[in-house]
Subunit: 456 residues, 2 copies
């Protein structure tokens, strides 16, 4: 998804830097959007990233690049730089971007920067830093536009004209004498109203707002559901303290989708962000260990049926397909449930509806594939002893494994949701391992039922 334009930019930039043609690179950077530079940085070696940062025309551009850049690149890029020159860049960033940056830096550098900033700036910044970075308070920006109720539309427009640093001002918020949020006026309403009208008369007073401690995902869902360009954030006493803008909402929605996707596969966080092998291993090893333990349990279980296997070695051949079909249906079902819960299309409170449906799907698919495999097994082993019994064992095992898998795949996310644990961790390794063990058990129980006492 880099696209031919960015691909060309990346290649040209890399070529110029490799050759040492700094002045050409400088010119190229000058006419490139910083959002594009930020994307291309991901694919450059660290020394080239540092060069690009230095070659930007001025500190305003550097500030914007730092705002747009992937969080995990920041620390390496800025380490070892002079604090004084960094502060000059930092001062040109919005407070929420400053907070994002500080949160990514090693503690000593972060502290040095905080010490070097002007006291007024530090205060605002520390207001944000005190909140969990994944809450409304942690992602809000404090450059919003708020006016008292009796301000007129004309005065509001004049006030807007006088301000220059208000990030994405789409709404004018209306506050009362206590600083409490009491209304909101869209920029458009302001423009199309007679100038003498007080804001009180044109404001919408049925306002949606988030609390500082509201989870960022909820804030994003709110903006998405009600098509809002910004959500006001209030503190415990309902005083307006910031806004979360739509561009941050989009980032949050994408982050949360990525997190869910990776969790479903049993990976913690954005593993593609980290170049360090050690970190990567740490992000993946835990779930693999769960799978390993499950596999061990499975092998113990199979080992305990060794007698049956010795009588009918053909049984071994069908273990992977019985487990594979179950695992697959389980993953499908769990994925549908997890995504449905995340987007609000499935509600845990009417969960039993889905359980029934998913179980029926599992049974239907189980009958289909069980019959297919039974017929195959009968044909393939018709020359050997008890092909019909083998066919029934195999076919019924597929049926049972797929039905149980559908049920487990649907039930686990619902239970996790009720327990307020992210259902995404329920898919993948957990469901597959459970389904595997149940599959092995039923398979050998069926085999015992149909084949035992028949003699090899």
């Amino acid at each position: 998804m880099l696209g031919p334009r960015l691909q060309l930019l990346l290649e040209t930039l890399r070529k110029l830097l490799r050759r040492g043609s700094e002045s050409h690179a400088e010119r190229l950077l000058k006419k490139t959007r910083l959002e594009d530079v930020a994307v291309v940085m991901r694919f450059l070696d660290l020394r080239f990233q540092r060069q690009v940062f230095d070659l930007l025309p001025d500190n305003t551009q550097r500030a914007e690049l730092l705002t747009e850049l992937d969080a995990h690149l920041l620390s390496d890029l800025l380490e070892g730089r002079e604090v004084k020159s960094l502060v000059r860049v930092l001062e040109l960033m919005s407070v929420d971007a400053q907070a994002d940056l500080i949160n990514e830096l090693p503690q000593t550098l972060a502290q040095e920067l905080l010490n070097a900033l002007k006291p007024a700036e530090v205060e605002e910044l520390e207001d944000i830093l005190q909140h969990d970075p994944e809450t409304a308070g942690g992602i809000m920006c404090t450059d919003y536009f708020a006016l008292p109720e009796d301000t007129t539309a004309g005065e509001a427009i004049q006030a807007l004209q006088g301000s220059d640093d208000v990030e994405m001002a789409f709404y004018v918020y209306v506050i009362n004498e206590h600083g409490h949020l009491v209304g909101v006026v869209s920029l458009r309403a302001l423009v199309i109203t007679p100038p003498s009208t007080p804001l009180r008369d044109i404001m919408a007073s049925d306002i949606l707002s988030a609390k500082v401690e509201t989870d960022q995902e909820q804030v994003a869902q709110m903006a998405a559901r009600y098509n809002l360009l910004a959500i006001p954030v209030v503190d415990q006493s309902n005083r307006l303290v910031g806004i979360v803008t739509i561009d941050d909402v989009i980032d949050v929605l994408r982050e949360e989708a990525t997190e869910d996707i990776l969790r479903m596969a049993g990976v913690d966080e954005s593993a593609y962000e980290s170049k360090s092998l050690r970190k990567n291993l740490r992000k993946r090893a835990p779930w693999l260990f769960a799978t390993w333990l499950g596999g061990l349990a499975g092998s113990l279980l199979i080992g305990s049926f060794e007698g049956q296997l010795e009588k009918q070695v053909a049984l071994a051949a069908f273990i992977p397909i019985v487990l594979g079909m179950g695992g697959n249906v389980g993953t499908q079902t769990a994925t549908i449930m997890v995504r449905g819960l995340a987007t609000g299309h499935i509600s845990a409170d009417v969960g039993w509806r889905y359980l029934g449906r998913e179980f029926l799907i599992g049974v239907s698919l189980g009958v289909l594939y069980g019959t297919l495999l039974g017929v195959y097994a009968f044909t393939r082993y018709s020359g050997e002893a008890h092909p019909l019994q083998l066919a029934f064992t195999v076919g019924l095992s597929i049926l049972s494994s797929m039905s149980v898998a559908a049920l487990v795949g649907a039930l686990t996310p619902l239970i996790f949701d009720r327990l307020h644990i992210d259902p995404a961790v329920a898919t993948g390794p957990l469901v597959t391992t459970t389904v595997d063990i149940l599959g092995i058990l039923t398979y050998f129980l069926m085999a015992g039922l149909f084949l035992s006492g028949l003699g090899g």
Copy 2:
């Protein structure tokens, strides 16, 4: 994620409708946001959905509900209604919402509605309907605000004041005498500029735009990357024909994430949307069939090693864990690659970098878990013949299976991306099946190497 407020709304509404207290339900609906009604509709029976639609205060509310409602609910909700009354609702919707609706309805009803609409409205609507619904042309709205270059800021504000139906007007687009898009002015710039300034002097002329045929995902990525509230859409001759607004961008980003997530699990489209069992089965059966075929190949393969299994039945016990560990690493790697490609954090053009890294991760994890399992196998089967050989077979098989799985999991999405096939279809069933077959093969080859000719 329904939340306590919506949960309460759902329960109250359901109770009132069940009891037949229509007037109470009507009053409840009157004071509820339509976005909330739209969410709650998902969980109501069809007859209650229809009642809610009828109980809304007026057609403006009905029009808004239809705009907000999940696409898959529309057809059942509107079927059998009088065309004349439907048209009255339809006329109150924006053209892009009309198009979305028409696209979801059965052909005969859609045609009847088109016939009953006023000719002027039909023309605009058909302009949109001719485009693929998943392109910029298919999701754009045609209520944008465009003015000639020599208009002054003051005139522009007056023009804005005179219009009432412009959807989310954040930007004024500037066009030349041929209708070509030449610039853009933000509403904020308009407000803070002296009224006599012509738009030409304050417009940004370096504009990002989409073509009507641009894929909706690309449009959304563009808006997200450059923090834009709307993307102008131009036709082949660069004439402005519509805009894609940020609320649609958010919908697209979520839809595409859902599509990717489900595809990775081998499910087509949003399976949770469909209540029909038959449709659901059709969405899931194809990939399961692929898994079934893969499983069959696996069972044939194991069958061909029956001689070895007969000599050492213990081999069967480790099949699931060898395949499970490989499958898991493969899925992890493939998921990381697919999501990275989708978000632009991984580029296929520097794919070899990731291949190397992922392979190294696979080998490292393989050494860890292979050693663990080898030690376990040796201990567990120390009383039987050749425990050391069994330990080596099992341990080296895990190592090989995990390394190969990491490689396959990383390589498949990259290849699919190069071939312009959605890499998401590469994960899940395809990777797992490939990894299974390769895993079985190496396992029995190892077994042959270490255990053959030893005699049980």
